[in-house]
């Protein structure tokens, strides 16, 4: 199972295994990792699953869809490497992925 590291805003890192086919958001929720709220449960409706993807991993995470791009454009703390983690599907190629959480999701 791919290993994914989630780094909280305060630097606390959590390395967990996330099944292929799950979203990066689900990996955090199912392991009770603080910092990803996921109000809408992965519907790309809330932008409370915002993460920063470590630059070298961006290509493997695929390209964000139109809806996601629009939402991220207004996320309070968006950066060029911002993604909505519910829109990133976990594949074997994401083994080793590192994502960081913003200070707050709201």
């Amino acid at each position: 199972m791919p290993n994914i590291t989630y780094v909280e805003f305060d630097g606390t890192a959590h390395q967990v295994e996330v099944p292929v086919g799950h979203s990066v958001m689900q990996g955090a929720v199912e392991n009770n990792i603080p910092g990803i709220d996921a109000d809408c449960g992965g519907e790309c409706a809330c932008a409370t699953c915002h993460v920063y993807v470590e630059e070298s991993w961006l290509p493997q995470c695929g390209t964000p869809g139109e809806q996601e791009r629009s939402m991220l454009g207004f996320a309070a703390t968006a950066a060029p490497n911002s993604r909505l983690s519910c829109q990133i599907r976990v594949t074997e190629a994401l083994d080793g992925l590192v994502v960081r959480m913003p200070e707050a999701q709201h």
Partner: protein
């Protein structure tokens, strides 16, 4: 004596989230999650949307997998109903007679579908939609060609209407008010949605009140309206709102007024008892008013408030209430609450065919936004509401003015 656990009564969206947040915030003692339904906490939003259309599985409905509760040492007691709160002893009583002592009690009892008080409401084929079991029954009835009558043009009713059309059913929506979503949306959105549903083949009757449901061999066959019309159907969905589950709290002497009264830390008047989610009546920081919210974001926010207070953590940053809905290819996103807006202004989406309606107070403070296929405008509106920005209607309506700059306060 072993340390008393935190008991959470109600294993729905709010209760499940509270258990998770308590662990995130460092609660080391016991957590007992008592729920009447036979299944672990799950998401209700898909019940009227993806799940009804057969696009989601039971597994994807679950908020978290079963192993989560084991790993987090959350004792889930499912299929068990809390029947009384004994405040003096700090215990809850289950239907079995068993008593569970608590250190803190979190009431997360949700709401139930409001019953329609007319003759025939107990006929077979008259359904409501609140739980996964309800959704099973509804789904079974929505076979291609079936005629569904939806009583009540609220969000759940309209979502079910859209899903039923996708399943090949004939659909009629009967609404007592002069517009759909009368209680929860602005007039422009109501009108747009009614038009959209009609274009999708849904018959919408406004200002129409149901007098009785008529049956044949014990099963619903028609609605009779107060104006004398009858309308054939083989299934009726009652979607006329939800009633907060406050009886337990009331019987225990806790103050209730259309919901269990709580403060911004989700505390009731008993320092050992919290209440969260659809069963509460809560203050809204921005408007200074209080009301009952029925949404997942509210359930999660109050779950955080209670968990933070119990664990001695600072309260979460107050949120702008928001909501979403999916109907056909429409994604609706609403933020803020438009208490008596002085003006409403429409702005086309920067990309695509969508639009947003902004509701303004007399002093131009942005109170609320309703977006249809306009995610960027929704996000910008949510920020404008949170920051209580004042923006003249003409500026908001002007697509040449950048929402980003408006939200940042630069324009």
């Amino acid at each position: 004596m072993t340390e008393r656990p935190i008991v959470i009564a109600g294993a729905g969206h709010a209760g499940g989230a509270a258990a998770a947040f308590l662990r995130q915030y460092g609660w080391k003692g016991g957590i007992v999650l008592v729920g009447e339904e036979p299944i672990l906490p799950y998401q209700r939003p898909p019940l009227s949307k993806a799940w009804l259309k057969g696009e989601a599985t039971a597994e994807s409905l679950a908020l978290r997998p079963a192993r989560f509760y084991e790993q987090q040492k959350i004792e889930a007691r499912l299929g068990q109903r809390v029947v009384a709160i004994h405040r003096a002893e700090a215990e809850v009583e289950l239907a079995s007679g068993e008593r569970l002592p608590y250190h803190r009690l979190i009431l997360a009892l949700g709401a139930r579908a409001r019953a329609l008080p007319v003759p025939g409401a107990d006929l077979a084929g008259v359904l409501a939609l609140r739980s996964a079991a309800d959704a099973d029954a509804l789904k079974a009835a929505l076979t291609p060609g079936a005629h569904l009558a939806v009583i009540g043009g609220g969000y759940i009713g309209l979502e079910v209407a859209a899903s039923a059309r996708a399943l090949g059913c004939t659909v009629t929506v009967v609404e007592r008010e002069s517009r759909v979503l009368a209680r929860v949306a602005g007039e422009a959105l109501s009108a747009y949605l009614a038009e959209h549903h009609r274009a999708q083949g849904v018959e919408i009757l406004l200002g129409a009140e149901v007098e009785a449901l008529e049956g044949r061999a014990g099963r619903v066959a028609a609605l009779r309206l107060k104006d004398g019309r009858t309308l054939a159907c083989d299934t009726a969905l009652i979607g006329i709102g939800a009633v907060p589950e406050e009886a337990l709290a009331r019987a225990a002497g806790l103050a209730c007024a259309n919901g269990i009264l709580v403060d911004l830390a989700a505390r009731t008047e008993d320092p050992a008892i919290y209440a969260i989610g659809d069963c509460t009546h809560r203050p809204l920081p921005l408007s200074g008013r209080s009301m009952r919210l029925e949404s997942v974001p509210n359930a999660l926010e109050q779950a955080k408030q209670a968990a933070a207070d119990i664990c001695g953590r600072p309260p979460p940053v107050p949120e702008v209430p928001w909501f979403w809905s999916d109907q056909y290819a429409l994604r609706l996103q609403m933020a803020g609450i438009a208490f008596a807006p002085a003006q409403s202004v429409r702005r086309p989406a920067a990309e695509g065919e969508g639009f947003a309606v902004f509701h303004l107070a007399a002093d131009d403070t942005v109170l609320a936004v309703e977006a249809v296929n306009a995610p960027a405008e929704f996000m910008a509106g949510r920020l404008l509401v949170a920051k209580q920005r004042q923006v003249p209607a003409a500026v908001l309506a002007d697509p040449a003015r950048s929402l980003k700059e408006l939200a940042a306060g630069q324009a």
